[in-house]
């Protein structure tokens, strides 16, 4: 191979083997995060230089097997089938080789040159485990490198082996997995058929034959690329029927049996002693953290701490950024040049553009902190525990325990909470969680409620008003969850199988990289919609040229007045409709825009314009209606679906209208 060539390398492994740590170690900050096409599964790619080669590294989602039982596994299977990489790096957990080798043996069949990196060697050594790497290497027919990804141990050897493999200094053989004779025979005869088609030199025909026999989805995945596959369908069906009849079980199950039997044999031959992975420390910590009675209170304390941490640290920075942008707006307005340009354009720049960018930047500290805390919780292994503790509660609304943390954090800010859904295990839970989060009472909505309740209610009553809105938010979250479960909006839930990994100390590098990546990601994916949204609202409230923003002559007011009849049964006037429209940018703007619209001192004006009943109805509407543009764009970015995004807009508006209507009309009937 010539130098300056790009080689594609994919990292594949079962969950919890330190895949991301190795990925980060190899690529550093040269990463890009995106989604796999059509699904809400994260796709990470990165590059690094290796002796003149550019290595494009792809971090495949964690999966147990290419026999897909989850969306992540489908992504991996389709990736290998459709665009086979040049080299595969497979990571195994040294403490439990058996668990990892099932996947290794399956992927090794593909014929793609492969390296096995045996990670967490330090912990294996501490447990007194010895692995015969020479024997393992011989049996697997591929280079095997012991590494400690957390400490960077063995990475040079890994790169060295990668280079040797690429330059053809070592050749790849691949292991032999023995299956019952008739299975082998059927697979080989189908492989011969595939060979006749002469389709893909990169993948072994035996590998393709097994994939095709296992499921029709594999055939489907290749059909687009290689239409000739269609000709095989009768042969595949026939072989599958014959084989399943003889085996008395489904082919994927039979193949898993062969693989894991081989894996068991390999482990017995190459590791020194029987593995006792139940590490003492984890057992002791779990006895407290997962305690029958103490578990949930401790969880709530940890959450309270995280919550307080994020907002105590983030809000001052956010305010600082807000002040900075306000200063920027003012200084642009007072620029000498501003006097020579029409005030309309100056306003557009300051209140439209700068405001829009300001809204985006103001999210940075919260998102960074949120993900720093999230990765601490996740990398330490506590996330799985929290999910375990609260699973039953969430199961009743069709979610699993992990989603609880996201929903809870939605009470701080919806945006990172929705971005955080990508760590959830299945597409089903991700979509449902994304759709209930907008009904949580975030801190921006809280500002509105404190302001309005403070004006309309006596100081003794106001806190209870806000509290009742919290309760309403809980109720709506549960109702929406139940509703989505009932209509099966996100398809069937997957069976719940969650690994509970041993506790581990998170590394600073991984945590910081994660926060950095998320911020970059937010900037790339969310910012355009946010800035656009802000500009649209600005245009509506400032056109036609020359009107006072938000005044009765503006476009927004015209819209507000024209849809006012819709809001009359809710006790909401056109002035508040404009405020709600402003609220699309960010909920906290609702307060400021009320001030603009009513002019002068908003407190007395509002108190005069709104009865407590009307105010309450307005607050209920504010709580439930369409989330802010940042949240909408996060939902769009995470779900990769306009259907889901559109659904939340409609659902929010409908629920807000319904609840306000019931409340206002009910209140009127009762004589308030």
């Amino acid at each position: 191979m010539t130098k300056n060539k790009t080689i594609t390398v994919a990292i594949i492994s079962i969950p919890n083997t330190g895949k991301s740590t190795l990925f980060n170690l190899l690529t550093g900050a040269h990463q890009a995060v995106g989604n796999w096409p059509g699904v809400s599964v994260e796709k990470k790619t990165g590059t690094f230089k290796l002796n003149g080669y550019t290595v494009k590294l792809i971090d495949l989602p964690g999966c147990y097997s290419l026999t897909a039982t989850s969306i992540e596994e489908q992504v991996v299977r389709d990736y290998i089938l459709q665009t086979p990489p040049d080299v595969i790096i497979n990571i195994a957990d040294a403490r439990n080789l058996y668990r990892s080798l099932g996947l290794t043996l399956q992927v090794a069949q593909s014929g793609i040159p492969m390296i096995l990196a045996v990670n967490m060697m330090d912990e294996a050594r501490r447990m007194g485990l010895k692995i015969d790497f020479k024997a393992l290497q011989e049996h697997l027919g591929m280079p095997v490198v012991p590494i400690v990804a957390r400490k960077g141990e063995g990475i040079d050897q890994l790169k060295q082996k990668l280079l040797e493999l690429v330059e053809g200094k070592i050749t790849y053989h691949g292991p032999q997995t023995s299956c019952p004779i008739h299975t082998d025979k059927s697979v080989l005869s189908l492989a011969d058929e595939i060979k006749k088609l002469n389709i893909n030199p990169k993948l072994s025909e035996v590998f393709l034959a097994v994939r095709f026999l296992e499921s029709n989805e594999s055939t489907k995945a290749l059909k687009k690329k290689i239409p000739a596959i269609k000709e095989l369908s009768p042969a595949i069906r026939q072989t599958r029927e014959q084989l399943e009849h003889r085996l008395g079980e489904k082919i994927p199950l039979a193949c898993a049996h062969c693989r894991f039997n081989s894996a068991r044999g390999l482990v017995m031959e190459t590791t020194s002693e029987h593995i006792t992975l139940t590490d003492r420390v984890t057992e002791k910590i779990d006895a407290i953290l997962l305690h029958k009675y103490l578990g949930i209170p401790i969880f709530l304390l940890i959450m309270l701490f995280l919550f307080q941490g994020i907002y105590a640290l983030g809000t001052p920075v956010q305010n600082l950024i807000g002040d900075g942008f306000e200063w920027l707006q003012n200084s642009v307005r007072t620029l000498p040049i501003a006097r020579h340009i029409s005030p309309f354009i100056v306003n557009f720049i300051t209140d439209g553009l700068i405001e829009g960018v300001g809204v985006v930047v103001a999210f940075f500290p919260i998102i960074a902190l949120f993900f720093i805390f999230m990765s601490l919780v996740e990398d330490s292994g506590y996330m799985a525990r929290a999910a375990f503790l609260l699973d039953h509660l969430m199961h009743s609304i069709g979610l699993d325990g992990r989603a609880f943390i996201n929903i809870l954090l939605g009470y701080g800010c919806n945006v990172p909470a929705i971005m955080g859904t990508r760590i959830l295990s299945s597409q089903h839970t991700r979509i449902i969680t994304m759709l209930v989060i907008p009904f949580t009472l975030c801190s921006a909505r809280l500002q509105v409620f404190i302001f309005v309740a403070g004006i309309l209610f006596a100081p003794q009553i106001a806190p209870w008003v806000v509290f009742s809105l919290y309760i309403l938010s809980f109720v709506v979250v549960i109702l929406v969850g139940l509703f989505l479960k009932l209509i099966r909006f996100a398809g069937k839930p997957e069976p719940f199988i969650m690994e509970i990994p041993p506790y581990r100390l998170p590394t600073l590098r991984t945590v910081l990289l994660r926060a950095w990546e998320e911020m970059k990601d937010f900037l790339n994916r969310a910012s355009t919609i946010i800035v656009l949204g802000v500009i649209v609202v600005w245009v509506l409230t400032n056109l036609p040229v020359g009107v006072t923003p938000g005044s009765p002559q503006s476009l927004a007011a015209k819209i507000g007045q024209s849809i006012a009849p819709l809001f009359r049964p809710l006790g909401i006037d056109w002035q508040e409709i404009i405020a709600l429209l402003f609220g699309l940018i960010a909920k906290e703007i609702v307060v400021g825009s009320l001030a603009v619209i009513y002019g002068g001192d908003p407190s007395t004006q509002l108190a005069a314009a709104l009865t407590p009943l009307k105010g309450m109805s307005f607050m209920i509407f504010t709580l439930l209606y369409t989330p802010c543009v940042a949240t909408i764009s996060a939902i769009r970015a995470e779900s990769r679906s306009w259907r889901v995004t559109g659904f939340i807009l409609v659902l929010g508006l409908t629920l807000a209208w319904l609840f306000s209507f019931l409340f206002y009309q009910g209140g009127k009937l009762l004589g308030f």
């Binding site: 026999t67 668990r99 049996h257 894991f260 719940f496 199988i497 690994e499």
Partner: protein, 152 residues
């Protein structure tokens, strides 16, 4: 055929996984196959969610209704979970600290003792030398016994 008992320290060997095909597939691809041994570690505080230790060393969480679909052979269970008084059991180990082991040994119960159960209400057991020993319910939860196959 037996199903898994939802109690901590119950150990069982998988005979077959069926019923829920999706679950069966998932577990199989994880390497949990007929012949694997499961141990219930704990039940979640709200019930229904169960932490299970697989003999290969990993801990996984499952829901009890899914776990019940696994057909298995019970290998060990706490004395408190024994329902069948006719059978003979062997004391396998104590799921307690050093103090508990001392206490049990002072009462004459040692690991690998063959015992019979006389009364499951107040837990009266008959030890190998035909002495009657009473243990409390809390203690019975920590004495792990395995059924003795009398046909051998």
């Amino acid at each position: 055929m037996e199903t898994v008992l939802m109690l901590p320290n119950v150990e069982c060997k998988i005979i077959s996984i069926d019923g829920n095909r999706q679950l069966a597939n998932r577990l199989t691809q994880m390497g949990v196959l007929p012949g694997s041994v499961l141990r219930i570690v704990r039940i979640g505080p709200l019930g229904r969610t169960v932490e299970v230790l697989i003999d290969q060393g990993e801990s996984i969480a499952l829901r009890s209704e899914e776990l019940r679909k696994i057909k298995c052979k019970i290998l060990a269970l706490p004395l408190a979970a024994v329902k069948d008084k006719q059978k003979t059991y062997r004391v396998r180990n104590f799921a307690g600290g050093w103090g508990f082991i001392q206490k049990m040994q002072a009462r004459g119960i040692f690991p690998s003792d063959i015992i019979r159960i006389k009364e499951t209400d107040g837990y009266e057991i008959i030890s190998k030398d035909s002495r009657l020993i009473r243990v409390g319910r809390g203690e019975a939860e920590k004495i792990i016994v395995e059924p003795v196959d009398e046909t051998l």
